[in-house]
């Protein structure tokens, strides 16, 4: 029998606010345990939560960018369960009437047609604290609780079970990640847990209409692990069914070292969360004017900007996609082309030298030492014939190291391109005399030796000879 995987994702997006969702404590990562706490996020008796308005603004932005409708009147609910990282004994979340509903994203898996993935809902909620085991002295016995993260604002984005493969899941996840970082509502740091994903996976016989029993996989905190975890889980479930066993509905934990999932705890009662409206928080009413204002202020989204790059700057779909991978990359490109240089040249340099140098040094484009203005200066030197494209790479390296003006570097290092035909002719004559044997072979029809002569001339000129002039002179002398 052949099986069809069915996957839905629940993504937790940590919002980039300065303060927590219901109190004024800082959301900064990595501070001393429990230093960012107050009666509200500690769940002390009598403390009252007040909603951070920025969280609502961010949630509306996320909803609009994922084609959701914004719920005019939504309420917060208490999700009741006991766990040591949850001081109040309930999590403030949304249950009925979440802030955003019925959205979608179009995803594109390489070699396949674009596919629309439904987004069931996006709701606002508070994060729990963090549990620490073992790695602190004194914690050999027991677990440590750090409540700095408690009450940090999250959006939970729940997809429809529309995904049919691990590749589709990764594609959806990457697109969602791109959108929330592009909007600037999440820092997207998966290692620190700012963007984390639970995957609901089930399998059913191909052609079946009835969904199989699903397992929920937690703790998948990179795109690679999402792919691994889903693929492992699909195999595990198919093997179970083929062996005549049944899949149990449960929560499973992904273990990155072994690439496997294992059962975490039984969910028999865990689903009985006894949600009810939180009486401490008043209803949230979002009128059309508020939605419209947010829509008007929404930045141009990656998909739109990609299309515009293709039409406005005549870039290929591939180039436009790479250059809109992040908002800062797209803005770097636009800052360059605003200075009136060839868009295709900017694109080539960004996808070539700049990407390579950023990767090598682990720098992000925001901290690129070669600013758009400096890159444009360099391109102008090439366009004006002052340096060759090859020498430009040397100049780029020097700019990367020193941050100096390209013209200064060219002058200091004597890299000006030699276009003077007299000087180049002298070099060519010397080479042709030295390589008399090769010359004879070329003239007897071995055309491909031409590249050899060009190489020798460029080498002798230390790369400074103008390649166009070299080609022209060399050809006429060899033919002559």
């Amino acid at each position: 029998m052949r099986f069809q995987p069915v996957i839905g994702l629940e993504v937790h997006v940590q919002l980039k606010t300065a303060s927590k969702i219901f109190c004024g404590c800082s959301t900064a990562f990595g501070s001393e345990p429990n230093s960012q706490t107050c009666p509200v996020c500690l769940g002390l008796p009598g403390a009252l939560p007040v909603l951070n308005k920025q969280v609502v603004e961010f949630a509306i932005q996320a909803g609009l960018a994922t084609n959701c409708s914004i719920t005019p009147r939504s309420v917060f609910a208490r999700k009741n369960y006991f766990y040591p990282d949850l001081p109040k004994g309930y999590q403030i979340s949304q249950f009925e009437d979440p802030i955003c509903q019925h959205g979608w994203l179009d995803i594109q898996v390489e070699g396949q047609e674009s596919k629309r993935i439904g987004i069931t809902r996006i709701h606002m909620e508070e994060d729990a604290g963090k549990l620490v085991h073992g790695d602190v002295s004194g914690l050999e016995e027991g677990s440590g609780v750090d409540l700095n993260r408690a009450c940090t604002p999250l959006l939970e984005v729940v997809s429809e079970p529309d995904l049919r493969s691990s590749d589709e899941a990764v594609s959806y996840l990457k697109q969602l990640h791109q959108i929330v970082t592009w909007l600037g509502i999440c820092d997207g740091n998966m290692e620190e847990g700012s963007f984390r994903c639970d995957a609901n996976v089930s399998v059913m016989p191909v052609g079946s209409e009835t969904l199989g029993t699903r397992a929920e996989i937690k703790n998948v905190n990179s795109f690679k692990f999402v792919k691994q975890a889903i693929e492992y889980e699909i195999r595990r479930q198919i093997e179970l069914i083929e062996d005549g066993a049944t899949v149990v509905q449960e929560t499973r934990l992904f273990d990155p070292t072994s690439g496997t999932t294992r059962s975490m705890r039984s969910k028999e009662e865990a689903h009985d969360y006894r949600y009810f409206p939180d009486p401490d928080l008043v209803p949230l009413v979002i009128d059309d004017a508020w939605v419209q204002r947010t829509r008007d202020e929404l930045p141009e989204l990656p998909e739109q900007r990609m299309q515009r790059f293709m039409t406005e700057w005549d870039l290929s779909a591939y180039d436009a996609e790479v250059l809109t991978a992040s908002r800062s990359l797209a803005e770097y490109f636009e800052a360059c082309v605003a200075l009136h240089v060839n868009a295709k040249a900017v694109s080539n340099w960004m996808m070539g030298e700049i990407t390579r140098a950023l990767n090598d040094s682990g720098t992000s484009i925001d901290c690129c030492p070669v600013t758009p203005r400096l890159l444009v200066e360099l391109l102008k030197l090439i366009e004006g014939g002052t340096i060759s494209g090859k020498i430009a790479k040397t100049v780029f390296e020097a700019m990367w190291q020193s941050g100096k003006e390209p013209a200064t570097i060219v002058q200091e290092q004597g890299l000006v391109q030699v276009s003077d035909s007299g000087a180049i002719e002298a070099i060519i004559d010397e080479i042709l005399t030295r390589e008399a044997g090769q010359v004879a072979e070329f003239r007897s029809g071995k055309d491909k030796l031409f590249g050899f002569f060009v190489g020798q001339v460029m080498k002798a000129s230390k790369g400074k000879a103008n390649p166009a002039v070299v080609n022209e002179l060399l050809l006429s002398k060899l033919k002559g």
Binding site: C25, S35, Q36, C38, P84, G144, V145
Partner: protein, 95 residues
């Protein structure tokens, strides 16, 4: 509306409450009375009436996104039954 002792036990377990046998039957009766009253309310026609989640007619209470001082580790941990460094310490939680 009938509430069994098993229903009471389930709710008690979810709320981490330990009840005596007398309490279980006492609460079963009380809960049945409360739910019976809700049954009575259901007889009313409430078409077009929004559920009341709050007694006070108020909406949109916000705070601006500004950091205010936390209370500090010592105060935060002052009532903790057990601590290690600046962590609360709880019985080992293994997942």
């Amino acid at each position: 509306m009938n509430i069994s002792v098993a229903d009471v036990e389930k709710v008690a377990r979810l709320a981490r409450l330990e009840l005596s046998e007398e309490e279980k039957s006492l609460y079963a009766g009380q809960m049945a009375a409360i739910l019976g009253y809700v049954e009575k309310l259901k007889e009313l026609n409430t078409d077009g009436i929004l559920p009341t989640s709050h007694a006070v007619p108020m909406e949109n209470a916000f705070r601006e996104d500004a950091v205010s001082p936390s209370i500090g580790i010592e105060k935060a941990l002052a009532n903790a039954p057990d601590r290690v460094e600046s962590f609360y310490r709880v019985p080992k939680v293994i997942e």
